[in-house]
């Protein structure tokens, strides 16, 4: 059986990737963010999984805008890095894991989740920036193959937080039933509070973010009680993408151990955060 060994929640703001691609991580406006990544990166380098499942959303780069799936999964052996309008990011293309993808697809559909399948997919910053947060210098290849799992967070009606958490729980069961022995890292991406357009552009809500950060570790059920409108009001119209952290959290054990977390304002127009959780049972006292 496959086993989730860790969960990593991280923002996927394009400018975090751009700061890395352009060597600006020591600049005054970025240094604290990247310093905050260091402990997580060090731990992750010691705990490389066989496969990673990345929960993210496309931003009108890899998916045609006339098709909006609530939940989708890639089943390819290769995902090109998308050209988002200024050329491709200088990072490796993403290698897939079709066997795990197809197993997860079958399990999730049988479990009543109405997945859309992408047999081909270009992946945008929503997926590649989290990989960069994890692995700043991938060289020729990312640390392991990836299964992309997409959530509609940009067009009304987004799935409810409760449905996202339920998807995560089903994902956890599906991973556990994979016949091969594999270690799996799960990445939940997006957030934290932010709003890009409208009169509330620039909105950031550190109290909500702190509550969310604490609850996602210790009481994720509480976060499933919040409605779509609650998220938009409290976290901003784009901050609702934090519901993707709940998919990651649902795939983990009831009790997890926080390895490290860090909160930073602003990354571009957003509050950015990283939170890393060890999913292995704590050693008995």
């Amino acid at each position: 059986m496959a086993e989730v060994i860790w969960g990593l929640a991280t923002s996927h703001v394009p400018s975090i990737g751009a700061a890395m691609d352009r060597g600006k991580t020591e600049d005054e406006s970025w240094k604290d963010l990247f310093d905050g990544y260091a402990p997580a990166r060090a731990w992750l380098a010691e705990h490389r999984p066989d496969v990673a499942v990345v929960i993210y959303n496309d931003h009108a780069n890899g998916v045609d805008l006339d098709v909006v799936p609530t939940f989708a999964i890639g089943t390819s052996d290769h995902y090109d890095v998308a050209d988002e309008g200024f050329g491709k990011r200088p990072v490796p293309d993403v290698v897939g894991h079709p066997e795990l993808s197809l197993h997860l697809l079958e399990s999730l559909v049988d479990d009543g989740f109405d997945m859309t399948v992408f047999q081909e997919l270009d992946v945008d910053h929503g997926l590649t920036v989290p990989l960069s947060v994890w692995t700043p210098d991938p060289g020729e290849a990312w640390p392991c193959p990836v299964v992309p799992l997409l959530v509609n967070v940009i067009q009304y009606p987004q799935p409810t937080a409760a449905r996202c958490y339920a998807l995560g729980q089903a994902l956890g069961r599906a991973i556990a039933s994979f016949p091969q022995d594999l270690t799996v890292g799960v990445l939940g991406t997006g957030g934290m509070s932010h709003q890009l357009a409208g009169a509330r552009a620039g909105f950031i809500n550190p109290e909500f973010d702190a509550m969310f950060m604490e609850a996602v570790e210790t009481d994720p059920q509480r976060l499933t009680q919040l409605s779509r409108q609650d998220y938009v009001r409290e976290a901003g119209s784009e901050g609702i993408e934090m519901i993707m952290w709940l998919v990651m959290r649902g795939a983990m054990a009831a009790e997890v151990t926080k390895v490290h977390s860090h909160y930073f304002v602003p990354a571009s127009n957003t509050a950015a955060a990283v939170a890393l959780f060890d999913n292995r049972a704590p050693a008995p006292a």
Binding site: G87, A197, A201, N205, S268
Partner: protein, 93 residues
């Protein structure tokens, strides 16, 4: 209009757009108001006329405009003021 912004993902399309913005807009069936908003870089009007921020931002990127610049436009402040507000912890309310 979103379809037009979406098309700007390829370098070849960006070249065609730059060579003849009005003609490019027309080929995607934009209304006269939408086309005018694009030609005038009236970002608020683009949003009001149905543009989604992730699509509109593709045009802004082509122009070398940042999301902070757009934030200033939407909130009626300058890019510097908007950025200062973010650096001070973001806007509340």
């Amino acid at each position: 209009m979103n379809k037009m912004f979406m098309s700007l993902r390829t370098a070849e399309a960006r070249e065609r757009f730059t060579a003849d913005e009005a003609g490019y807009c027309a080929s995607f069936g934009l209304s006269p108001e939408q086309q005018q908003a694009v030609l005038d870089r009236d970002w608020q009007a683009m949003i009001d006329l149905g543009g989604s921020i992730f699509y509109v931002y593709k045009l802004a990127m082509m122009d070398g405009r940042s999301m902070q610049y757009l934030g200033g436009v939407f909130t009626g402040t300058s890019e510097e003021e908007f950025l200062a507000a973010l650096r001070a912890g973001g806007r509340r309310g």
